[in-house]
């Protein structure tokens, strides 16, 4: 392990140590703020109870990511190919970001029900924008000289897209996807808070009402782990695909 990996680990360890110390010295009750050691224990011991919920939330997130990829990539390509359409779509895209997802969540539950559909939709709204915009910016960042080369070769748009623009945009696309997968958890959990019968967000609300704060934290821990794992997975995928860097 090199120094760059060590530093954040040390930092996290320091924070957790202080937290543990603070709770123990002041004898804070567990239903207010449990110490990290207790949270970890609960997260592991009660995994059989937590994991089915985590699986639901993960499914929602993955479906949201899939839906976002299926829609953001074509839209980015369309907007890139037809700048007039970009001008037409841009206000809606920005507006979709200006609406607070919290405000939308209750409506989505009313429209799409208590099942996973409303959560998938929430995750989709959140991830769509960073993927679409980063890909579009990636396409646009392509050097003029290379565009000229392809024009000189008589390449039609679609071939230029596949051979030039797409690989050119990949680093930015992955940056957007990384951002997307980490915030996707927010969308899914908010959806579950508003109305659900399962999922980590539902577990958090339920435990909170019963003053099982340690379980709330355990759910947060699993959620964080899921977000980190997704982020890491995208990073691995990026390294695999962008071999030329």
């Amino acid at each position: 392990m090199n120094r760059f990996n060590l530093l954040p680990v040390l930092f996290v360890a320091l924070i957790l140590g202080l937290w543990e110390l603070f709770v123990r010295i002041l004898a804070v009750p567990v239903f207010i703020l449990p110490p990290p050691s207790c949270i970890l224990t609960v997260a592991l011991v009660r995994a059989p109870q937590i994991l089915p919920h985590a699986a639901i939330t993960l499914t929602e997130i993955l479906l949201g990511i899939g839906l976002a990829l299926c829609t953001a990539i074509p839209l980015a390509i369309i907007m890139f190919a037809r700048p007039s359409l970009e001008k037409a779509f841009a206000p809606f895209l920005v507006a979709s970001q200006a609406i607070p997802v919290f405000a939308l969540a209750p409506l989505l539950v009313v429209w799409l029900g208590y099942g996973i559909a409303s959560k998938v939709f929430m995750a989709w709204i959140i991830i769509f924008f960073p993927i679409c915009i980063s890909l579009l910016e990636g396409f646009k960042s392509c050097d003029k000289e290379y565009r000229v080369l392809f024009r000189l070769m008589g390449a039609p748009f679609f071939k230029t897209l596949i051979l030039l623009y797409w690989p050119w945009a990949l680093p930015r696309f992955f940056a957007g996807l990384k951002l997307g997968v980490t915030v996707a958890t927010i969308g899914a959990v908010i959806g579950e808070w508003v109305g659900a019968q399962q999922g980590l967000g539902f577990l958090m609300i339920q435990s909170n009402a019963r003053l099982q704060v340690d379980l709330v934290f355990a759910a947060i821990l699993w959620l964080t782990a899921m977000g980190l794992a997704l982020w890491w997975l995208v990073g691995v995928l990026e390294k695999k695909i962008i071999k030329w860097k």
Binding site: R151, M153, P156
Partner: protein, 248 residues
Amino acid sequence: MLKVSCVTKYFKDQKIFSNLDLTVDRGRFHVIVGPSGCGKSTLFDGLTGVTPLDGGSISWNHESLLNLRYHAAYMQQKDMLLPWFSLLNNALLPAKTSGQDMKKAKKQAQSLFSRLGLKGYESHYARQVSGGMRQRCALVRTLMFNRELILLDEPLSALDAITRRSLQSLLLLLQTEFGKTILMITHDIEEALVLADEIYLFSKKPMSLSRHYVLDSPKPRKFNDPILLNIKADVLDKLEGDLMNEQV
């Protein structure tokens, strides 16, 4: 025969060149020399339709054309290899984009690779090979356009002197072995002297023809040929004179 007459180009109000004439007979190797910034690349961009010209006419083999986009292979100043493709796939780009028979194209590219000294490097990436090899690869890519007329914009300017010498003999192959008609820009007078059948010397602001030399000594040539040395002296004289005038 390439015939360019009275071409004119402005950038806004700045006149880059006007009423410029050039001819290159089929199978000949003509070289353009001129001070940097005089408009040589702009001329090539105009000829190939990368930027629009503001006047003049272009014809290739007596066919009058708007530009040479579909008739010439244009190799720009940089090698422009794509980092995500192997050297071979970079060379195959013209075939891929124009929907040629890939099997045939691959065969052609492979034989060009061995002819230009790239055998064994087909699957290397651009960042893994030297500048000279990258330029050879760009040259193969240019040949893969399969066009008789080739425009080269300072193809060797990014290379060190020794690599440049060895690549100069490859450029000569384009003419002698592949039968191409070549118009090349260079800032290296010696390079022009060993390769050219005719040299156009341009001056700047606006770009205009100041000397035209016809060189008929056989190739490959030696630098110490007295005829070449005479021409070199004349070119340097002219360039120096322009420089003095500019400073006055």
